[in-house]
């Protein structure tokens, strides 16, 4: 995680807020195209193909599983400060169900824990 983000940051942030790099725009539009495909594809599909409940169950676990797949190696690469902050986010999400509050707590947590440890 830390390594990857360092790479990303090394790509100097654009100085002009209104910059539209043709390649970036192309990637964004490709992302939009496949997303629209998934959004309208379902209704098209139920008219032509019968999806089994079994397949639906498999597809429905994808979002959570992918989030966990992203998160797992990042947490594994972290230390007590990172794990503590992650736990703090979980706790605030569970208690308040507020994303903003949870993220604020998490960022304060990571800064605080790193200073302490």
């Amino acid at each position: 995680m830390t390594g990857e983000l360092t790479n990303a940051v090394a790509v100097a942030p654009s100085s002009d807020a209104l910059t539209l790099d043709p390649l970036v725009v192309a990637v964004v539009l490709a992302m939009a195209a496949v997303t629209v495909l998934t959004k309208v594809g379902g209704i098209w599909l139920v008219r032509h193909v019968e999806l089994s409940d079994r397949l639906e169950a498999g597809l429905s676990v994808l979002p959570g599983a992918i989030v966990i797949a992203v998160l797992g190696p990042e947490l594994a690469a972290g230390g007590p400060a990172e794990w503590g902050a992650a736990g703090l986010v979980l706790l605030v999400m569970w208690k308040s169900e507020s994303i903003l509050l949870a993220l604020v707590a998490g960022v304060l947590g990571i800064v605080g824990f790193r200073a302490l440890i």
Binding site: T19, M31, I66, L75, M93, L100, V107
Partner: protein
């Protein structure tokens, strides 16, 4: 409401009943539906703006301009997949990995869209496709609830989706502008903020006991694959392994 007339057919299955309801009480598509959807969804859309601000900051840190981040939110409008895309963003941009991962994460929208078919079958394709562009998790759930209660407001998805779109694009812009003002990301813990956003996302996607097995499979495969396979393939491998295991162990 009109739905009461249908309770006589309670012997039919839930899905059949929904279809027969819409056969008899046509779903309308008008301004009342747009307005009801917008007003119902606005408070939730403001809350989702928390992700939007975070996404904007992270997109800026990853090298996207304010305009590029806003463009992504305006055209993609699928939070989790956008945040994962920013995680994958690098120089050079791994185009195939990003597009494929976004597609995989958003496959669930096919199921969600298909669930609306009983009500949408009487509407024109233009209205259906136009509305579905604005479908996100939150406003889909609100729309399904409204349609199931028998209101017959076909434009509810569009109205609630416009609320999502407005706040999502606005909060992304705010975040991207703020991100430019942040200097060294590690100083504020922003280098780990992306992971924290994922922790919050996971807390929202958690569905109780049924999530345990697929999540453990995804975790194990991703951690092993990230050590063995170059690049970001561990994300797709973890997700696909979980889906395959779920398909195998599904017992109705």
């Amino acid at each position: 409401m009109e739905a009461n007339a249908e309770t006589a057919e309670s012997s039919e299955s839930e899905a059949d009943r929904q279809v027969s309801e819409t056969d008899r009480t046509p779903v309308t598509f008008g301004w009342d539906g747009v307005r009801a959807g917008f007003l119902t969804c606005a408070p939730i859309a403001i809350g989702v703006g928390g992700y939007g601000v975070a996404f904007g900051v992270l997109a800026n840190q990853a090298g996207l301009s304010v305009a590029e981040a806003a463009l992504m939110s305006a055209t993609v409008l699928a939070g989790a997949s956008q945040i994962v895309a920013i995680e994958l963003w690098a120089d050079p941009i791994p185009v195939a990995t990003i597009v494929l991962t976004v597609f995989a994460i958003n496959l669930r929208y096919s199921l969600m869209g298909a669930a609306l078919q009983p009500w949408f079958q009487s509407l024109s394709w233009k209205k259906v496709y136009g509305s579905l562009f604005f479908m996100a998790d939150e406003n889909w759930a609100l729309t399904l609830r409204d349609l199931q209660s028998g209101n017959g407001r076909g434009a509810f998805l569009l109205g609630s989706g416009i609320a999502m779109w407005v706040f999502w694009v606005a909060s992304t812009t705010v975040g991207a502008l703020a991100g430019g003002a942040v200097g060294d990301p590690t100083e504020y813990g922003i280098d780990f903020m992306l992971a924290l956003v994922f922790v919050a996302l996971a807390a929202e996607l958690w569905e109780g006991r049924s999530s345990v097995v697929p999540w453990l499979v995804a975790l194990a495969v991703a951690v092993v694959a990230s050590a063995l396979v170059p690049g970001q393939w561990y994300i797709l491998l973890g997700g696909l392994a979980a889906a395959v295991v779920e398909v195998i162990r599904y017992d109705g």
